[in-house]
């Protein structure tokens, strides 16, 4: 993987997704209501390099999972495009699209819902192998399933069991084995550990890292847990109400957050070290995405907002460490706010 490291595998360009929440046409006509739409993802651009773990963080409703679904083509974008290794999957021919599909997989949040309860684990893991015709016969498919189960730390004999016979952590291992069975290059992990206990979470995170080293995988890692993201990510994108507000190298983001929202988010994480640092009081909550604020969407909660923030919408600008979309940074008003980052 080293020869291709740094080359973008996924390029996301100006991606948007709008959901229509309007009432049916007739009701709208009778009640004279306009169409109502929700912009879940708004003009988001980033790239994921080969072999890295790119993390997306943000609060509920910031559009993390929508982006994941857009990237794996489970949802169609309303604008912009996603390039996988230079090709747009939506423009590819059916045969090409199928071939591309085998190169990426997804791990879902809830291992209790993402595995079919009426299938044996062996069949669940073999499904991608069958779907993409990766094994010549049944015996070799079964052999591959056994190998996969051992790779993720389960026993080959577990293939005959049903999902309900496993604990949450073990089920997530099954989901990982299924994702690996098609030999993908890229795995989208949508909150893979948020349904698990911390001690089990540690096992799964360690496993995911080992597999990345072993198979040269690229991850898109979606989480709202900043400490997990810090542990896993090479680069991090911070989402707020469907917009990317900051993109930065993993460590730099935590040592020196640029965007006021990132600072606020980091500050809100309860802290095991009990340094007794004073926190900046978090103000307000994420607004309703049906009716987002004008200008910079963070301005109603931002201590640095001025008139420009209320009317214009900032775009990502290089900050020296990464990129951030903030007028306070551009105008160098951010300094007054700087001590936030220096608690550690």
């Amino acid at each position: 993987m080293s020869d291709q490291a740094g080359k973008p595998l996924i390029q996301v360009e100006g991606l948007s997704r709008v959901f229509d929440l309007s009432k049916p046409w007739l009701n709208r006509m009778i009640e004279r209501e306009p169409k109502r739409t929700l912009t879940a993802v708004d003009d988001v651009s980033f790239e994921i390099r080969k072999g890295e773990t790119f993390a997306l963080v943000g609060e509920s409703g910031s559009g993390k999972s929508t982006i994941a679904k857009l990237i794996v083509n489970l949802l169609a974008p309303s604008g912009g495009r996603v390039l996988f290794d230079g090709d747009d999957m939506r423009k590819a021919t059916a045969a090409n699209a199928r071939q591309m599909r085998s190169r990426f997989q997804m791990i879902f949040q809830d291992p209790f819902a993402s595995l079919n309860p009426r299938w044996r684990v062996g069949d669940i893991i073999a499904e991608p192998i069958r779907a993409f015709d990766l094994a010549s016969d049944k015996a070799s498919a079964a052999k591959r399933v056994d190998e996969l189960l051992e790779t993720v730390g389960l026993a080959a004999s577990d293939a005959a069991k049903f999902p309900h016979e496993f604990s949450g952590g073990q089920r997530q291992r099954v989901a990982i084995a299924r994702a690996l069975s098609a030999k993908p290059e890229f795995i989208v992990c949508d909150e893979p550990t948020s349904a698990l206990d911390v001690s089990v979470q540690a096992q799964i995170l360690n496993l995911m890292r080992d597999l990345q080293d072993e198979f040269g995988l690229t991850y898109l890692f979606i989480s709202h847990d900043l400490s997990v993201v810090r542990h896993m990510a090479t680069r991090i994108g911070v989402l707020y109400l469907g917009r990317l507000v900051e993109v930065s190298e993993g460590k730099a983001l935590f040592q020196n957050p640029q965007h006021p929202y990132t600072s606020m988010l980091l500050d809100a994480v309860p802290d095991l070290d009990m340094t007794g640092r004073t926190r900046t009081q978090v103000v307000g909550e994420i607004p309703n995405p049906i009716d987002p604020p004008s200008g910079c969407r963070f301005h109603p909660r931002c201590p640095l907002a001025n008139d420009r923030c209320k009317s214009e919408s900032p775009i990502l600008q290089p900050t020296g460490i990464g990129e951030a979309a903030c007028f306070a940074l551009e105008e160098r008003r951010r300094d007054a706010f700087a001590p936030l980052a220096q608690a550690k």
Binding site: E59, S60, S167, G169, Q170, D197, V198, S199, V200, Q201, A202, Q203, L205, N206, R209, H224, L226, S227, V228, R230, H231, K251, F254, M264, L265, L266, D267, A268, V269, P270, D271, L272, D273, M274, R279, Q281, V282, E285, I286, K344
Partner: protein, 189 residues
């Protein structure tokens, strides 16, 4: 409702719960709990369903109101960060029994029970950048099938014969108590 920080509380009195966001709903619940001026508030995972930024607000409200009214709080959570920030004393539970109890600072920084030690190591933190997380082997036993002796013994790297036969009770030392045979044996870490 004003005290728990709901904006325009008067106007929202007649709203239904679904008209509130998650954080606001949790504030309503806190208001509800405090309405009868209780001496003890039991909070079962009060912030687990919330985002971190909202979680910080809720913890603040809970702490402030309870200290103002002199109410005791029993906080149940799996989030060690929340405990470190909020609690005075902490009891670590394993398979239905208390493994370790003591002041938060001591338990978190110098855990004595091997389970607590493993648990602390498995939490990724913002300040720490190890390559791998400590992992506790295996998973929680089924509660219908708790191992004999110390419930943690099959997963414990220090387990010896006595752990497999006798169940340890919390042994007091100062303001802490640990249910483990190790300190007794003098071979503890």
């Amino acid at each position: 409702m004003d005290e728990v920080g709901i904006p325009a509380a008067k106007r929202r009195m007649d709203d239904y719960p679904h008209q509130f966001s998650g954080g606001m709903r949790q504030r309503v619940v806190i208001a509800l709990a405090l309405a009868a001026e209780p001496e003890l508030v039991i909070a079962d995972e009060p912030t687990t369903a919330l985002d971190v930024s909202v979680q910080a607000q809720i913890i603040d409200v809970l702490k402030r109101l309870c200290s103002e009214r002199g109410a005791a709080v029993m906080l149940i959570t799996h989030d060690m960060g929340v405990i470190a920030e909020t609690a005075d004393r902490v009891a670590v539970m394993y398979a239905g029994r208390v493994a370790e109890i003591g002041p938060v600072k001591d338990v978190i920084q110098q855990a004595k029970h091997p389970y607590t030690q493993g648990l602390m190591g498995s939490i990724p933190t913002l300040s720490h950048t190890g390559d791998r997380l400590v992992q506790i082997q295996g998973s929680m036993p089924r509660l219908t099938d708790i191992p004999t002796g110390c419930a943690f013994n099959p997963r414990c790297e220090y387990a010896f014969d006595r752990c497999r036969k006798e169940r340890p009770s919390p042994i007091k030392s100062g303001d802490r108590a640990v249910a483990c045979w190790l300190p007794d044996e003098g071979s503890a870490s």
